[in-house]
C-alpha cells in the first residue's frame, strides 16, 4: 500500500502542480458555461433559480469530460503505464489511487467554486446545501465511471470526443437524481432518497470500477 501512495499519489500531485495552468482550465470552463445561461436564457432571478441545478450539473459533467482525458493519456504516451504494470503493484490499486487523486485535483476546486455558481444562478441556501451534497457524492462517481471509458480510449489518437459519446449516456441517471434532489430542496421537500440512490451508485462504482479500469488498461495496452 505504501508503494501506491508514495509512488503514484505523490507523483500525480507533483505532476499536477508542475502544470498549474492546466488545473485552472476546467474550472474556468465551468464558470464561463454557467455565465452563458443568464445571457442566453434570461437574467430573471426566478428563471435562473429554476434552471440553476440543471445548469450547474450539466456544466460539471462537461468540464469533467474535458479534464478526464488527462487521467491516463500522459502515462500511456510516455510509457509510465508499462512500468506501473510491471511494478508488482495491483493495477486496480493503481487505478483507484489515480482516480482519487484526479478527483482531488479537478473536482475539489469545483466544490470550492460552487458557492459562486450558486450566487450567479440565484440559488437559495437550502438548494445550495442540496447541491453541495449531490456534488460531493456525485463527482467521485463521475471520476470512477469516467476512468473506465478513459482506460478504453487511451490507446486511440483522438479519444476526446469519443469519450464524451461513451460517458454522457452513463451519466444521465446521476444528472436526473442530482437535479431532482436540488429541486425538491427548493420546494423544502426531503431529498434523502435521491442522495441515497446517488450514494449507492457511488459505492457500486467505487467497489467495481478499479477492476474494470485495470482490465480496460490491459486491453488498450495489449
Amino acid at each position: 500500500m505504501k508503494h501506491l501512495l508514495l509512488g503514484i499519489a505523490r507523483r500525480d500531485v507533483r505532476i499536477a502542480f508542475q502544470q498549474k495552468a492546466e488545473l485552472v482550465q476546467p474550472i474556468m470552463f465551468l464558470l464561463m458555461v454557467v455565465t452563458l445561461f443568464p445571457l442566453g436564457v434570461s437574467p430573471a432571478p426566478e428563471t435562473l433559480q429554476r434552471i440553476g441545478p440543471g445548469v450547474i450539473w450539466i456544466a460539471a459533467i462537461l468540464s469533467s469530460l474535458l479534464s478526464m482525458d488527462r487521467l491516463f493519456r500522459e502515462d500511456f504516451n510516455d510509457g509510465s503505464l508499462e512500468q506501473y504494470m510491471l511494478s508488482g503493484m495491483p493495477l486496480s490499486g493503481v487505478a483507484a489511487v489515480k482516480v482519487l487523486v484526479h478527483w482531488l485535483i479537478s473536482f475539489l476546486p469545483l466544490l470550492v467554486l460552487s458557492p459562486l455558481l450558486a450566487m450567479f444562478l440565484n440559488l437559495t441556501l437550502d438548494m445550495y446545501v442540496a447541491l453541495i451534497a449531490t456534488l460531493i457524492l456525485g463527482t467521485p462517481l463521475l471520476s470512477f465511471v469516467g476512468a473506465i471509458a478513459v482506460g478504453l480510449t487511451v490507446g486511440l489518437q483522438r479519444g476526446g470526443l469519443l469519450l464524451a459519446l461513451l460517458l454522457i449516456p452513463v451519466f444521465i441517471p446521476l444528472l436526473i437524481f442530482a437535479t431532482s434532489a436540488v429541486d425538491s430542496a427548493a420546494l423544502h421537500l426531503p431529498y434523502y432518497s435521491q442522495l441515497a440512490i446517488i450514494g449507492a451508485m457511488l459505492l457500486l462504482a467505487a467497489a467495481s470500477a478499479p477492476f474494470a479500469i485495470a482490465y480496460s488498461l490491459k486491453v488498450s495496452q495489449n
Binding site: T35, L39, P45, T47
Partner: protein, 248 residues
C-alpha cells in the same frame, strides 16, 4: 519616428528605466490612494439617496475604469511589440495582464458589495457587472494562453494577438450586454445609474483614480523587471545582477 524610445528596446535599459521610475510611482500611488480614500470615506458628503454605502464608489469606479484601460494598454503594448518587433513591449504586456485581472476582480467585488444593500442580492446580472465579468474572462484567457506556451517568446506573440482580438471585442461585448440588459429590463431590478456627482464628491474620486493608476504602473514595473530577468536569463548583465542581489 520615436527614435528616442528605441534605446529602451534593449532590455537592460528598460530594466534600469523601471528601477528609476519605481520609487516615484510607489510614492505617488501611496500618497494619492491615502488622500483619496480618506477624503472619500470621511470628508465627502453623503449621497442623499444611498447614504454612506455610495462611498464604495471611490474604489469601484476607479478600478472599473482602470480595468478597461489596462486592457487597452495591454493591447497597445501588443501592437507595439508586433509592429516594431520590441520584445520588451511583449514583456510589458504580460506584466500588465495579472494587474488588470486584479483590478477587474476588485471592480466586480466592490460592485457586488455596493449592489447588495440596494438590490438585496449579492449578484445581479446588471449590464455593467456582466461586461466586467466578461472582461475578467478575457484577461484570464490571455494569461492562460501565455502560460500554456513553453517558449515564452512564442507565448508572448500568441497572447499579444489574443489581447488585440480582445480589445476589438470589448466595445462589441459592452454594447451587446447593454442591449441585452434593456431587452430584459423588466426582469431585473437594476437601476444601477451612478449617483449624481457633486463636485466635492468628484475630487476624491479623481485622486483615487490617479492613485490606482500609479499603483498599476508601479506593480507593472516590478513585474516587468521580473519578466526581463526570466527572459534574459543567459545575458551577462542579468547574471551580474543576480549575484549582486545576493539572493543565493
Amino acid at each position: 519616428m520615436w527614435k528616442w524610445l528605441h534605446p529602451y528596446a534593449k532590455t537592460e535599459n528598460a530594466y534600469q528605466l523601471c528601477l528609476t521610475l519605481q520609487p516615484w510611482l510607489w510614492g505617488c500611488a501611496l500618497v494619492c490612494l491615502i488622500v483619496g480614500t480618506v477624503w472619500g470615506l470621511a470628508f465627502a458628503p453623503q449621497d442623499y439617496q444611498q447614504g454612506d454605502s455610495f462611498r464604495i464608489i471611490y474604489i469601484h469606479v476607479p478600478s472599473a475604469i482602470l480595468s478597461m484601460s489596462t486592457y487597452i494598454a495591454m493591447a497597445v503594448a501588443a501592437l507595439v511589440g508586433m509592429v516594431w518587433q520590441w520584445r520588451t513591449a511583449y514583456m510589458a504586456m504580460i506584466a500588465m495582464a495579472p494587474v488588470g485581472a486584479v483590478m477587474t476582480f476588485i471592480a466586480l467585488f466592490t460592485g457586488a458589495a455596493w449592489g447588495k444593500p440596494m438590490w438585496g442580492a449579492w449578484w445581479v446580472w446588471d449590464a455593467r457587472l456582466t461586461s466586467e465579468l466578461i472582461l475578467l474572462f478575457l484577461y484570464i484567457g490571455v494569461i492562460a494562453l501565455y502560460g500554456a506556451f513553453e517558449d515564452k517568446q512564442q507565448g508572448g506573440k500568441a497572447a499579444g494577438i489574443m489581447a488585440l482580438v480582445g480589445v476589438v471585442n470589448i466595445p462589441i461585448i459592452h454594447y451587446s450586454v447593454e442591449w441585452w440588459n434593456t431587452l430584459h429590463q423588466g426582469a431585473t431590478i437594476s437601476k444601477f445609474d451612478s449617483p449624481s456627482i457633486a463636485p466635492e464628491m468628484l475630487w476624491p474620486l479623481l485622486i483615487n483614480l490617479a492613485g490606482f493608476a500609479f499603483f498599476i504602473a508601479a506593480v507593472t514595473t516590478v513585474r516587468l523587471r521580473s519578466e526581463i530577468v526570466l527572459r534574459e536569463m543567459h545575458r551577462p548583465w542579468v547574471k551580474r545582477l543576480a549575484d549582486e542581489s545576493g539572493v543565493a
